[in-house]
Symmetry: C2
Subunit: 766 residues, 2 copies
Amino acid sequence: MYVGKNVNRVDAYDKVTGRARYTEDLIVSNAYTAKILHSTIAHGKVISIDTTEAEKVEGVIKIITCFDVPKHGFPTAGHPWSTDPSNQDKADRRLLNEHVRYYGDDIAVVIAKDEIACKQALELIVVEYEEYETIFDPVESLKEGKIQIHEDSPNNIIGHSKNIRGNFAEAIKEDGLIVVEGWYETPIVQHCHIENHIAYAYEEAGKIVVIASTQIPHIVRRICGQALDIPWGKVRIIKPYIGGGFGNKQDALYEPLCAFLTTQVGGHPVKLESSREETFVSSRTRHSMKFHIVSYIREDGSFAARKIEIYSGNGGYASHGHSVAGKCLGCFHQLYPCENIEGDAYTVYTNLPVAGAMRGYGIPQAMFAGESHIDDIAKVLGRDPLEYRLQTIMPKGYEDGFSKNVNYEDSFRECLKVGMEAIDYNKKVEEYKNQSGNIRRGIGTAVFWYNTGVYPISLESSSCRMVLNQDGSIQVQLGETEIGQGADTAFSQMTADAVGLRLKDVHIISTQDTDVTPFGLGAYASRQTYMASFAITKTAKILRDKIIERAYQLTNVTPHNLNIVGGKIIRKTDGKEFMTLGELATRTLYRPEDSEYITAESTYTIKNNAYSFGCSFAEVEVDISLGKVKILRLINVHDCGNLINPRLAEAQVHGGMSMAIGFALSEELKFNEKGRILNNNLLDYKLSTTMDHPELEVYFIENPEPTSPFKTKSLGEPPTCSPAPAIRNAVLNATGIGVNQCPLTPHVLYPLFKEAGLIDNQLEVE
Amino acid sequence: MYVGKNVNRVDAYDKVTGRARYTEDLIVSNAYTAKILHSTIAHGKVISIDTTEAEKVEGVIKIITCFDVPKHGFPTAGHPWSTDPSNQDKADRRLLNEHVRYYGDDIAVVIAKDEIACKQALELIVVEYEEYETIFDPVESLKEGKIQIHEDSPNNIIGHSKNIRGNFAEAIKEDGLIVVEGWYETPIVQHCHIENHIAYAYEEAGKIVVIASTQIPHIVRRICGQALDIPWGKVRIIKPYIGGGFGNKQDALYEPLCAFLTTQVGGHPVKLESSREETFVSSRTRHSMKFHIVSYIREDGSFAARKIEIYSGNGGYASHGHSVAGKCLGCFHQLYPCENIEGDAYTVYTNLPVAGAMRGYGIPQAMFAGESHIDDIAKVLGRDPLEYRLQTIMPKGYEDGFSKNVNYEDSFRECLKVGMEAIDYNKKVEEYKNQSGNIRRGIGTAVFWYNTGVYPISLESSSCRMVLNQDGSIQVQLGETEIGQGADTAFSQMTADAVGLRLKDVHIISTQDTDVTPFGLGAYASRQTYMASFAITKTAKILRDKIIERAYQLTNVTPHNLNIVGGKIIRKTDGKEFMTLGELATRTLYRPEDSEYITAESTYTIKNNAYSFGCSFAEVEVDISLGKVKILRLINVHDCGNLINPRLAEAQVHGGMSMAIGFALSEELKFNEKGRILNNNLLDYKLSTTMDHPELEVYFIENPEPTSPFKTKSLGEPPTCSPAPAIRNAVLNATGIGVNQCPLTPHVLYPLFKEAGLIDNQLEVE
């Protein structure tokens, strides 16, 4: 059995030797290069574009402007299609936009023989704009009388959802309630995957082929079809290895535009690659959000009622629309069950870069607000925040009414107890009481839950194909994608066990090609290992049945007494080995009287979801006068069910923790008053690096997930969710100051510390 | 219905615009180039190779010699594997050879950054040989006391088969028999496909990937596995569009070597492309053959007995081995049934380039001999050769004991009568009687039969996969290959009809990728349309059943009353249209409660073969003093069953006729006394071109083939089989001279005409 073992990544050798092939590696040498002209205003209308001089640049093939593209909108979100129009994503995007809605919007494209010609031409294009009022803040954007960024969205609202439970108005009348209220705010951050977005398109065999760095090839196919208004079967998407995505490549970014461009040059190959600077502005970001939380607490600490307002700034286009803020809103009543809730979430257009999916999909923001607020309550109540959580958090057996997810074990408390022991919580709390001086230490915790996939909101299905080779090895094809996270390795382990193979005889086809790869939705919602496991198990069963039927013909042993173990056909009763799978495959394929190429293919529709749980513990040291936070220890504890590959799971958590550290302490996109970005590069944008990390400590509680064939559930996004509030709460513990916005930079901390009188004026002057 | 219609080729647009991608178009820019060092002796042993100076050339990466490669043999023939060792091809080839067996054998390879460095290095390699005796003639090679070219092949015999029927020795004692005896000889020719052989290999995901211009990707995978002694599943072959093959690419040519080379440079991409000069010598050729035929004829023209001896020169390696000559031998008793036959066919090693498969697979040679011989008999009997054929040729209802092929209709006579009328045979025969002078005209005919595929000699199976897209279009994958002949178009037409689609909604996947393409044997033996039709029909049935089951769920109309017509679900009883296939596919795929990605895949084992028939009529004008033959008219008549695409069928026949004209009149490889080729280029090798062609006239008899779902049978190779003897017989008709060797060049004709006294000596002196 391979599931549960620390097998090496199946792509390790190719990736460390550099021979793994990414989109860039597949581009033919005579491909044209395309570069986009981005708007230099944040809101307005393109009146005219003069390309006369630009077209004279040697090597320029064609210039396409916003006046040359189809006039219909299409959506970009990487969600499954829905046959119910009310469930479809907002189709507010065009290939190029006359009405520009953020500084960096796409208004024209130069196609040229090389990048130099493109850049020369871009500089010679003259654009005339009509400028409109700009709005950068989502709360402002909602207000009456503001300019409407999209014609069909009054008050700039992309989505508004309510979460009403019980009777809030009555509940708050209860005597003796303690009211804790807070506003919390999170920044716009960017995914910063290593490989910027790149697509490469050409026409062939009556189709537009797009090779792209995407998480969602089958969805991108559909969106390209929509964008170009052609039948979806006329589009073929190929996804090779990609250098990270983190949700940014869960949108159709420039694949539709690239697909369109090749049609404008007779199907000649065209490459469209974003620079790092463009990636920061013109791909997607994490939503900045403002949370207003009011909790009505009884003296025993229990929740009588809660009010939650969420304002999510989505930038100039809808992308994933209201799904992210909607998911945030759904957190609160589940995490700390409360019978009376009044919640509102608004997703709002602004004139900033477009927010979309990013690892955690709103939960890092919700946890920053919600878990900060829990510590704020504990402080008001004079309770230890950990002990307070152990009292109030989701109980064992809790079932969510919507997703039908069940907390089968007492996972939260189990996780919290592991973390508590690991960090020696009680001792530290004692030790850090009553500190003074400039350097102070603190300890903090925070929890999260996460779903596994998107059921029942939208389609969850996975298809798989297995192909038996003459040597007994198999190819496995899935629409679920390797995006650096190690999915291919997990798929291979599960396949080996499900079929009865040696791991080395499983050849996972990493590249998705929508023409031949079974339909799958791709990498998002931490769905892949869970969802694929159903299709793998079902398909393996079909394959095994075919193999065993053939083995029966060859051995005359009844099928129910035959098994496939380690790539061999054995008799169950005595373990006798009859032949290798290779021998069986060869004899079956080359049998002139009855040849069979043994393959299996099936679709599994997944009609469940699964709760993942976890928590973080942070220990920090705060230099008060510098407003600087140093993380001494950071621990993540996860219950993601049984682990498929503990070492890969740990690596996954490390990555998420690193991303969360940046979110907590350093990362944010900055804009000037015109909406122009100030730090769209990796020098000025302070991505967290190993220099900022303590040793990242990871623990797992392996409560087997009953809905899953391999007892596993989501781990992709969960690690990003709780470290930031744990760090914030540790700073609170160290300093007494609850910081209600992240990142906790010196710019934020210093004024707060100063206001609180923690900073010695004398020291400051020196 | 599309079958039977002149639809445009599905690859026409891409091919005429030049955007169709061939192997060369897929090579990444940083690939290494490899070039082969060929032996400069025809037979001997490499004693040493000094690469010291060559390695100093800038850009040289590595030099591999015959001393560095695995020491085991492998076969190269593109035949299906057989689990019966006695049925397997001769494994007499190594990646590079110490024992060189023809002038041009492969002894070392330079891998360098570019071709220039390769060539510089090749010139600096110093090779020391021990030279052996050389043998160039197959009859000589058989003789006792000759040097043995391969250690395990006494008398240099690759294969010897006998065809003994009845009692020859008794039969020839019959009184009054007329004996007609002749020796006939055919040349070595080359396929001259436009695209030379090219392969491009790299390592990825634990596999060796080879992109190659081949007709037989799945077979090449197996052979690469054998050559490198690795599991076959570790090899992945990708076949894009190719620029012709004609049987030459029905061998594993340099794919195994290229696969090996990439393993020697850490999996880096390596390109190995043959030049035209190399293609002539170091790929494969058509077997030169010598036939000795003795016919014992009764006065009424019927055959009492026949003796046939065939000597086939195979060159230095076995390649397809004895199959070709074996097929020749099997012709004679079928074409003109005769109860007493004594036949021997020998395939023999010589020290010339290796003969392998070439369009017609021995039948053009057999027909040149056999049909020349029929005219020789007619001449002896004083009969009209056409009338004589109509008497003696295979009758309606004839069944071959081995292949079980049946001549269901009186196809030969039907074809001959069509040709006869088209060329106005009787009038011409009368007109060309009693000619004199230097310019004389004549008319000739010849027939052929051909099989469809290789059943029952080896495996015939075809697998197919169909994938339904959301727009109701489908992808079709087959292991049968488009090699320029239009197979993809025929497959698309059959698929459209079998499923019930519009042709434009059939997307044939032209590229085979052995990792994901269903197993198929590839393009050879004129098998593809016939064999694929079974797999297409079977797979379409599975796909239709799935679709109709879903349609039933959506309409509540019982499945037996539903049909798919023109991409729509209709009710059979009244033709009511319920929905398009696209609507059905979309609703099925995006159904959260029960999603299905509708695909179908199956293997069909073909256990029949099918006789194709036909004939050629030629009218020529001979300039006797110049020994020059001009073809005035050339007509091919074919019964290849029902036509899938008449226009493509006609094009196929045109190509075959052109190839046959070269074979008849101009093409042959020439060697000096050391076995070195003299004309390995398209200037000195006289390929037939349109300038040498009359208008090529094509007629079809469409006798429906009862074994085939679409009533079709082979047409790929047949057109090459009969024109050469028809031309030869026309020359005989014109001049009275039966020329027993081809090509009928002035070098051959002049001495014969002279000897026969046809040439005025005076004229000659002038």
